[in-house]
Amino acid sequence: MTDLTALTIAEARDQLKARAITATELTSAYLKAIETANGALNAYIAVTPEKALDMAKASDARLAAGKAGALEGIPLGIKDLFGTEGIHTQACSHILDGFKPHYESTVTANLWADGAVMLGKLNMDEFAMGSSNESSYYGPVKNPWRANGSNADLVPGGSSGGSAAAVAARLCAGATATDTGGSIRQPAAFTGTVGIKPTYGRCSRWGIVAFASSLDQAGPIARDVRDAAILLKSMASVDTKDTTSVDIAVPDYESIIGKPLTGLKIGIPKEYRVEGMPEEIEKLWLQGIAWLKDAGASIVDISLPHTKYALPAYYIVAPAEASSNLARYDGVRYGLRVPGKDIVDMYERTRASGFGDEVKRRIMIGTYVLSAGYYDAYYLQAQKVRTLIKKDFEDVFHAGVDAILTPATPSAAFGIADQDLASDPVKMYLNDIFTVTVNMAGLPGIAVPAGLDSRGLPLGLQLIGRPFDEETLFQTAYVIEQAAGRFNAPKWW
């Protein structure tokens, strides 16, 4: 029999339904792959083999009884940001030491209700703050991809670095991830995988450790566009426990795949042609435009004039919300406590020892911009700019544009412990320059692999859609995927 971990979700689903393979066999194959590879890649920070095999057994029983759910027997990895009942949930932070929630996040509960199998919890940047997975308390994840002829370790991107690496290395059939400024799309682009951040409100945020509540949104990372569509269908729902989740029926995203692009208008924003962008990225973008044109879409040049202000506005809004959300980590209710001479000393020591440098930096910035005398100058100004950023998109969509094509990242994956990036936090933030606008405007965005650079590393394109029009993104991304082909990292681990 061929390697079962080579099957996509769609392929595995069909074979499971045809009873050609069992969920137990499929899950065992992934558990074996994890056991072999995780020491090298560090994608999982907690593996749950017993739970996985129990769930697989239950799936096999349901398959035998003809009661299979949409994801019956499909083994998934779960980002450590999702609350999973009785199982390690720490947002890869030291401050949540030993935390095992007594509840299940709505998104993961939806997946289990559809029959999916949990393999374990995936590594990530601490509290989803980072673009390289290096801020994790559990150490960096290695990208399964390496440059041609090089043994140098590269980052998988972040914050969903474990999710992207696990999908790329076939250590799960698909993974959950979250995206606050690019944390699904940037790692997907760095690992040759597909990642979609749905519209704000499409997936419930309930039970997901909060970073910046007005920006956070869950979504899948998968091997191809179809698998991403299958996963999002199960993840999305309206939820009374999240008042920002929307009561709009979840479409069957998979059914749109393969539909021709005839009549679709794709916008190309000139502001995304940023200074110093590598020629290869520009070339990839032009190639993407040509593919969509060949597929029948019409291409129009558009302008999103406030694009350059999205990242600075983000670095006010996101830290402000984070400083408020992370106030709950006080050494009293859960996780780590470091004793002090009085209660304030206990708070300060707990938080000093429990949070890593990047998280502290963002809490400090957030506290500062919200503090008396600075609120108007920073936070209010940023929220006004955010209104303008959103209006840019509204104007373009109003003019008839169906989706926007941009590069996903300004570069391919970079090295672990890059000195240049370590010395200047702002340089690391620039990784999200193409993705962050989407979060600021609450729109859906998908990253799809579109080619390899001259060093053999994957590069991705991003499609941005109208609110709650994920269907057009899947439809269009599939055309790019068909034209570009799929990319697999040569196995070295």
Binding site: K100, P101, H102, Y103, T199, Y200, G201, S214, T240, T243, T244, V246, Y309, P312, A313, Y315, I316, S323, A327, D330, G331, V332, Y334, G335, L336, R337, P339, G340, D342, I343, V344, M346, Y347, E348, R351, A352, K360, R361, M364, T367, Y368, S371, Y374, Y378, Q381, A382, Q383, K384, V385, R386, T387, L388, K390, D424, P425, V426, Y429, A441, G442, P467
Partner: protein
């Protein structure tokens, strides 16, 4: 705008994060780099622009004002570092 070391220490206090002298010095440089980066927002003309309060237009969902969950004291304190009879235990705050 930029911050000096005493502002950094004051903000750290507000954020309840203990910082050493070295931490504060390092953070001063880092925070100033970030504040320098966000400075460009001042170029934007925001006259008459409403600050964003909700990214998707939606009316706040409401539910009936009734108890719909609870009776889970043991669950609530299960992950606390120190508890006693379903109470969180903290260092003495009143002498």
């Amino acid at each position: 705008m930029s911050v000096d070391i005493s502002t950094v220490k004051r903000v750290a206090r507000l954020a309840r994060i203990a910082v050493s002298e070295d931490d504060a010095t390092r953070m001063t440089g880092e925070l100033n780099a970030i504040l320098g980066f966000v400075e460009q927002l001042n170029e934007v003309d925001v006259a008459g622009v409403e600050p964003m309060t909700s990214v998707t237009p939606m009316a706040m969902k409401k539910r009936r004002d009734v108890v719909n969950d609870g009776g889970k004291a043991a669950d609530i304190v299960a992950n606390a570092p120190v508890t006693e009879e379903n109470f969180f235990v903290v260092p003495k705050v009143v002498e």
